[in-house]
């Protein structure tokens, strides 16, 4: 009941600060940006003055799977940035402004407080991401060829898990430091570092969350879920749970006023 009160407040706040408008729209733009530019590349080159007559423009024939990967590629860079920026102040900002002093002297359970914040961000992120992929799917079917809805759902499920991990990392840093900008920086730095470590130790880190998108590509071309993807998904899920409980733990240990 208290959890619901906290969660509801987060939802209303994100409606009033228009996050529920701009985050989905940005995700849609990110998802359709690369597919559209690639499709219209010949016209764009023409409009820009064209190539010398004797150059033959040889554009690759994109398969639907390739186009999905274009959208996911944008989410992996700009999408992560957007999530980090829109979530950087959810807890740290309340502590910085001092409003948490009023809230947390009420008998609020820290577990409820943290998980309600997490859930509201997770919901916004997943809805925005799904709308983005739906838009991408619309253009894929319109311009590049058919992609089954089942395949789209699988992409949403596995890549959604990766985005939830980013939300969880952000929540964790929110409980650790009080400056929103620093939270965003640490979140992005952590994701980049994880990517680096995954590349360097690729032979042992086969189930690293950072490899989810690589395995999704495999899944789309082969049509079946690779076992490494299941493994990576399980590892990601465990990390999310670990981060949530870690956040509650650090928050409980923190002095709320200082």
């Amino acid at each position: 009941m208290q959890w619901w009160t906290l969660f509801q407040k987060e939802l209303i706040e994100n409606v009033r600060n228009v996050k529920w408008v701009w985050v989905p729209l940005v995700m849609i733009l990110l998802a359709v940006m690369d597919p559209l530019t690639n499709y219209y590349l010949p016209q764009i080159i023409d409009a820009a003055g064209g190539m010398p007559d004797d150059t033959e423009i040889q554009l690759p024939e994109y398969q639907p799977a390739d186009v999905v990967m274009m959208s996911l590629g944008q989410f992996s860079s700009m999408g992560v940035l957007v999530i980090a920026l829109m979530s950087m102040g959810v807890i740290s900002g309340e502590r910085k402004s001092g409003v948490s002093e009023l809230i947390l002297v009420k008998p609020v359970s820290y577990l409820n407080y943290i998980t309600a914040k997490w859930a509201s961000l997770a919901l916004l992120t997943l809805v925005a991401f799904s709308l983005g992929m739906l838009a991408s799917w619309y253009y894929i079917n319109l311009l590049f060829g058919a992609l089954s809805f089942g395949a789209l759902l699988q992409v949403l499920l596995f890549y959604g898990l990766w985005l939830l991990l980013i939300v969880s990392i952000s929540i964790f840093y929110n409980t650790l430091v009080k400056t929103p900008g620093l939270v965003a920086f640490l979140t992005i730095a952590t994701v980049m570092l994880m990517g680096l470590v995954t590349t360097i130790f690729s032979h042992i880190l086969e189930w690293s969350p950072n490899r989810i998108s690589t395995y999704i590509q495999q899944m789309l071309t082969t049509g079946s879920v690779p076992s490494d993807l299941t493994g990576a998904a399980i590892v990601t899920l465990m990390m999310i749970v670990f981060l949530i409980f870690g956040s509650v733990y650090t928050f409980r240990k923190k002095e709320l006023a200082s």
Binding site: V18, W22, L25, L29, V32, G93, V99
Partner: protein, 69 residues
Amino acid sequence: MEEVSILSEINWAVIAPLLVIQGILLIVAAIDLIRIDRTNGPKWMWALIIVLINILGPIIYFIFGRRND
């Protein structure tokens, strides 16, 4: 001539959603800017950014212009 008309027909199905998104971003950002008490930096600056920078302007405003309190 025929080729051009075919192209413009395809263009609408592709471009219309983008135009709608751009429009919503612009309108929501403008309304929000009018209603909000304070922004980071002067309001007129954000008004220019929202109106002049296509698509990206409103987004930059939402992330950096709004005061989160």
